[in-house]
Each structure stands twice: as structure tokens, then as C-alpha cells.
Symmetry: D2
Subunit: 184 residues, 4 copies
């Protein structure tokens, strides 16, 4: 979303996809389809113990934390988009367990106008299908500026971590905790 | 979806929205966000008794049946898109009960290439959030060629009705029946 | 649950059901099936605007607030149990819209031992299927000590109201708000 | 459920639990809480490819197929009951991925009276929380009379396999396929 800046922008070279300029033109006129994934660690009984958040340090030193998030491409299935963004952000050894059902736990509607919903993206109207994804393997964030930090569910819902999330993703994270029965 | 042809196409005159030509150009390059609504009648305990399907007669006399379906516009909330399409197809007195949760019962991914998923739309890659919507009022379809017929859940899942649905909407209807606990 | 004391206890005279003594004996040895309903008011687009909570004043003047909650009886369908408890607590003119799907938004597991889950009932191990139920009509609580108060979603999630809820129902209420996309 | 006969009956020796005689007495008077699990194999993208069904041969040579199913015990969490029954029926190396969310895909209400719902258990009124559970490891059914057979989703929904399932579990299986987007 907007909080990701240019870093998570997929530059597509396949003819059917958009150049960056074309995408910008479309963004002001059509809702853009996204997926949001909340990476979690679980115990043997499937109970969520930790939530993984991407870390980014801005040039001014300020820290922000983000879910795994990105666009769904033309002719790409939702589950393939989830897998692609999780591999991009968590590395090839993360072994994410993509949900068996396409039913998301919620829909996050990011509006360019603040206040219409709880989600905001100044660049675009993005509609994101949100999933909780257990991650069993080793995570090695591959993007330069990104790190991945695992928080306990209490930490993830704390005011400190919430304050470091932007665009409404703090709310989305707490919705995910509610869905897995772990809202503090 | 494709089965609706030009009839359900929203012609948007607001500047932020697309002309038909522009939309056609985008359709080959970006997944387009849709909503699908399954109108139902319920008894006092909330159990689904009937499913409403739109009827269309083609120039050659062939009959097809369809769910309420349509695009989500720029800067439009999912629930407003649902309400708009239900009012357009069922009339202003239908009194649809839009679901309280944004969680759809499934996501229908209509691909332009047949066979990628169970859903097909030759015009575009459409990703549709699917909801079951109880309708308590009087339905008066407002589009010329459309009528609305209420089927029992057994009839709705029958081979005869299924054969009259296109683009995979027969599967989507049965998924809805499964969701409400009424799959025969 | 435990917070309801004897007030919401169903005294069953039908032979297949339990006397109070028998029920007490069973309660220490079997999980007891419950339903929890979160009554809500919605706007025309289905968005939740208010949450209804039952009020109870204890002999010492202390106030507690509760969801609509109660046992599922032998040979009773879930949706009939929901309807029965809603009518009992909100009156015959409440016009609750029982959900079309049996899929609850969560399962609340009330344990007699505190801390096993977020839910606690000193009397029993109760497993409760939780639903959000829009209520369109007039609510007239019929039990002597009960009143119903409508809170905005912000008020319902506030520390003040949360502090007046017991047994973990404050958490369950916030899970319901997350489910309907209204967690503050 | 009833189709399992005495084989899957948990004989509990802990004082808080019931003797078989006591359980029989309770069964005619209280809904009994169950879990149903649909074991599945998935590909890397999380799409379900196969469904596992338990096989049983009756003394008369007739074959029946069943989901993993069993009672929730006093003071046992849902996810622990799921894990226990999956290990009991699939062996200790099955590595089931218990869902992160307590939200079941449906509730199956098995009534002793046929026809009240789609589910029937002559022994009792059982209310079952139903989950789809990916199984990544080796399955070695441990009960004498049980084998586990993996079916493609098409086979699982076929009239032949459906005819070998009892008590409504064929419907429950197809509801699971609908939930994972694989209903043929």
C-alpha cells in the first residue's frame, strides 16, 4: 500500500501488464486488487504464538512495520499472488502454508480519502483480501531495507507496535488476532 | 460477468471513472473487482428457503439465469456496490439485508482462459467477492430483459437450473447453498 | 454463562431435558453447548452502528453488561436456540435477523479454570457458537433485572464498557467488532 | 457419530469424565459436542488436491467411508480435540496442520430424528464443529478396522463415494469442497 512506497511496487515487463506510468493513470480510476498476509508462527495445536512484521527504516531514521502486501496481477490466482509476495518478502525458505480456502478473514478497503474506512492509501483505492498465513520455515527478508521481526500476540497488539504501523494495518493486524482467537 | 454482455455494464460519466473504451483497454491488463450477490428468501429462523435468479432470454430464445453481479467502482465501498447492484437488478423495494461483515463466503476468480479456475469470463480477469443476501421486500426487476424467479434450494441445485447458468455461476450458487447449510 | 447466575437458566420440564440437579451433575463432566449473540443495529448499507448490551444491577449496586447468551437444548437447532434466547432477552418485537449461515464468527470456549482460554465460567466448561445478529425492531427486555442499552461501536470497545463485562465477553464483543470491520 | 459404532468411542477413566453407562444416559438429554475434520492434501499453493476418508468394512462385507470425527471431552480445547482425533485415526506421523482460527467452515447438527437437518445420528443429538485440515505427513491408521484412502476432489464428490458415506457426512464433505473452492 502507500506505506510501502516504491519498494514493493511490482514492475511488470510482460506485455499484458502495465508500465509504471500506465498503472499510475489507472490507479486514479479503478479499485486495484491487493492481498494482505499476516505471517504467524503456531504451536503444535495450531494456536498462534507470534506475528511477523516487516521492518523498514526511513531515511530520517523513523521506523515503520508492515504486513506482507502487494498487488494481484492480471491472470494471477489469489493463492499464487499470496505465495509470490510471501516469497518476495520472507525469502524462498519460509515455507508459508497458504490457506486451503479462498475465504479471506476480512476485506480491507484502502481509500485515497482518509476516514471513509479504517484503511488509507494516498496513492490509490486498493481492495485487499486479507489472510493469516502460518510460516514454518526460515525467513530471510530479501529486500534491502526490510527486516522481519516476530512479536508475541500481546506485543503485536500493543500501542507501541500499533503506532509503528500505517495506513490502518494496525487495525488489520488486530482483526487478524481476533480471527485467530488471540485478541488481548 | 461475460454472460451479462453489455446489459449490466455501468456507463460512468463521472470524470474519475472510465469510458467504455478505456475500460476495455484496462480489462486485458488488470484484474477487475466485482461483487456477486445470491439473493435469498429466509424463514423466521433465518434458514434459506428460496434462491432468486435473474432470467434473460437471448434473441435466439435461449434462456440463461444469473446471480446479481457487477463491478465495484472507484471510491465505492463494497457494501455500497452490493446495494447498488441489488437495487438495479431487483428494484427499489427489494429491501436487501447487506451482510454486517465484509467477509465474503468465497472469492470467485473469473479467468479469461477457461479451466484455470471454475469461473470463466471471456472479456476479462474478474475477481468477485461473493455474498448471500436475504431479500425481504418486493422484487421488481428494472432491466428490460430481466426477470427474477425464486427457486427452492433443491430446484436451484438441480441439473436443469445449473445448465442454464454460465461462466461458473452454477458452481458459485452451489457454494452459496453449502455455506448456508442447504446443499442437497 | 456464570455471570448470568440463575437468571438465564432454562428450567426444563420436558422429560428429555434435565432437572436443575441433574444438569449440575453433568456440568462437571461434559462441555455444555451454548450460543452467544451480539445484537447490533445497522444502517441501510449493513454497516454496524450500535451494539446492544444487556444491563444487570447486582444487589450491591454493581453494574455488569452481557451479550445474549444461553444453552442449546436437546433436539433444538442452533438457529432455534438463537431465536429463543434473543426473544427471551429482547422481547417478541425485536425482529432479529438470524444469520443465513451456521458458520459462527468464532467459538468461545469458556473454561471453569481461568487462563486456559480468554473465556471463563466458574460453573462449567461451556463451548459457545458466537453470532452477530442485526435487530431491526423494538427491544423490550422481559427479564426483571435486565435492561438493554445501545452503544456506538466506539463506546462498546471502550475500557469503561469492557470493564463492565465479565467472563471474557468483552473480548468476544471486540472479536465481533473485528468481524464486522468496526474494531476501533 | 453413529456410523462409528463403538470403535471410536472414547472410554474415559478420569473421574471427571463419564463411564459408558453415564454417557448413554446423558446422550438422550443434552446435545453432545463433536468435531469433524476433513483431512486433505494440498499443493504448494495451498489448493486441495486430495481428500482422505477412513474406510471401514462391516462384518457383512459392506464398505463405509467416514471423516475423522469424535467427541470433545470435558476441559479439552477444540484444537486439542482435533489433534487427538486426527492422531488417533491417522497415526502419530500425520503432521496435521490444525487451523489457526477457531472459526469452523460449518456446524453439522446431527439429530437422532432423521430429516430435521441433513445430518443424522441415531444415538444422540451431536453438534459438530467442522474443519478442513491439511495433512502433510505419513498416515498410518491405527485402529484395526480402519484404513485411509486418498481421493481426488472429483472422486470424493462422486455418487459412488457419496453413497458409501453415512449420517450426512457425504453432504459435509461436499460442503468442505465448496469451502475450499473445489466443488465439482
Amino acid at each position: 500500500m502507500g506505506y510501502n512506497g516504491q519498494m514493493t511496487e511490482t514492475t511488470d515487463t510482460t506485455p499484458e501488464w502495465f508500465s509504471r506510468d500506465e498503472l499510475e493513470a489507472v490507479r486514479g480510476r479503478l479499485p486495484i486488487l491487493y492481498v494482505d498476509a499476516v505471517p504467524v508462527r503456531t504451536d503444535d495445536s495450531g494456536a498462534v504464538t507470534h506475528v511477523g512484521l516487516l521492518l523498514r527504516v526511513a531515511p530520517d531514521g523513523s521506523i515503520s512495520r508492515a504486513l506482507v502486501s502487494g498487488r494481484v496481477l492480471y491472470h494471477e490466482r489469489i493463492r499464487d499472488a499470496l505465495l509470490r509476495h510471501l516469497e518476495k518478502d520472507l525469502g524462498p525458505m519460509a515455507l508459508p502454508q497458504i490457506p486451503v480456502s479462498p475465504q479471506p478473514f476480512t476485506i480491507a478497503e484502502y481509500f485515497p480519502t482518509p476516514g471513509v474506512t479504517k484503511f488509507h492509501d494516498p496513492r490509490q483505492h486498493a481492495v485487499s483480501l486479507a489472510y493469516v498465513v502460518p510460516v514454518a520455515g526460515d525467513c530471510q527478508p530479501r529486500q534491502d531495507a526490510l527486516d522481519l521481526v516476530w512479536f508475541s500476540v500481546e506485543e503485536a497488539a500493543s500501542p507501541e507496535v500499533q503506532a509503528e504501523m500505517t495506513g490502518g494495518q494496525g487495525v488489520l493486524l488486530r482483526q487478524a488476532l481476533a480471527y485467530v482467537g488471540q485478541l488481548p
